[in-house]
Symmetry: C6
Subunit: 97 residues, 6 copies
């Protein structure tokens, strides 16, 4: 799973995300976190991001939402960092059932 942090994303970057997700940017967010991996990993990462900070989370897809799917997490710099940190840590925990 790849995780990236973009500080003050440019209009061209917001454009790529806006065209492939339900996110709409009236003003540029402070930061954008990106997560790319298997569908199952990104679904879990989405859940972690949503629960640990006030950031907005959306899946990024094309017309065929296959292997270019990403997760985009936008918000203030600190909030996005906390979300990425949580994803990185909690994704490694082994589920028990």
């Amino acid at each position: 799973m790849d995780i990236k942090l973009i500080k003050a994303p440019s209009p061209a970057t917001l454009d790529i995300i806006q065209n492939r997700s339900k996110l709409k940017f009236d003003k540029s967010p402070g930061a954008m976190g990106l997560v790319q991996g298997k569908m199952i990993e990104m679904t879990v990462a989405c859940d972690i991001a949503y629960k640990t900070s006030g950031v907005e989370v959306s899946d990024v897809r094309g017309s065929c939402p296959q292997n270019m799917v990403m997760l985009a997490i936008v918000g203030d710099m600190e909030e996005v960092k906390v979300a990425l940190r949580n994803i990185e840590e909690k994704s490694k925990e082994k589920d028990i059932w």
Copy 2:
């Protein structure tokens, strides 16, 4: 085959699943199990899940249901855990013919 368990899935997570499956969530389920693998593995896993607990099972797909297909299993925490446990165990059994 990857198996994941999400406890008390968040609205963003339910959204991802709802948009790609026949599942509709009037209220958030207690737990969601996810299974990702080859089509043949997921079909077998679906059969196992359906037969061993009262959980609801659905395939998760996009417009092109190729390599992002998952199996989602929702229900109470204990029911989902039993289903995941059964999938893990019975998938390893060698078929005899």
Copy 3:
């Protein structure tokens, strides 16, 4: 090439197959054999299954029939077993030309 045998397939399993093939199940078949591999392998497997038993054979596909394509073989338990056995054995034979 992966081969799996499902005994008394559940409604959820029949649903997955019915939605992606020309098979229609008025009543649940005794068994379902699944074969997943390269297109060329599955075409050969289809031919073997059709010729060695009275089972019904169909390709399973999505809207984009690419890498999630499977072969489904339905019938009585013993017939399906014979078909799977034949696929396994005859697929290994080297063609001579």
Copy 4:
């Protein structure tokens, strides 16, 4: 590149090919050769088959003609065998330019 030979292909096999190619079978051909590989390999194989025997050649595709594409070669048993043999031999020759 995978090459397979099907003797007296069954109706179910002809069905798979007919639904994904321009081939129409009024009566079952004596044999069917299948070639699966990279697009560039199959295009060259198509050219070889067409030039060395009177067999009929067609590409096999789905709605998205990506990685399940095959080449189908139909005709009498001996003709198909010659075509497959030529593909196997001439494909290994190094082009010089």
Copy 5:
């Protein structure tokens, strides 16, 4: 991640890019930089290119924007070179969160 530089791109090359992106070329640009890699890498590369020079940046896609997606960066030779240099260097920096 692959990076390429095309000096004075030909009409056929501009055609390939024009048909798969929002770029429109009234006159041929001095140079075209191309970046191909994972979706997450290209999104970050897009952001870097946009911020470090006056070049025009666009994602390149087909009807299914999956694994043939590229990033095209057009402008004067020196501007495009600076953009590619920045992408190469900054992509290696480890994000901290």
Copy 6:
């Protein structure tokens, strides 16, 4: 990157190319060069072919122009050979920026 040369391409081969590109063949060309590789490699190869000979160049695609994309280069035998030679040599040169 794979490169192939077809001498005096047959009608079946021209058909495969014609159905997936903008090339139209009123008469059979003397030779056809094929190039298959990553999108970024083929775009560069297209540029090289266009600039070093009078051959006609086109991208070959299906409805989803993903991993079956090729580049077709048609013309007289010697012209096509020069184009393929140039692609092979110039593709290896390291860009400097």
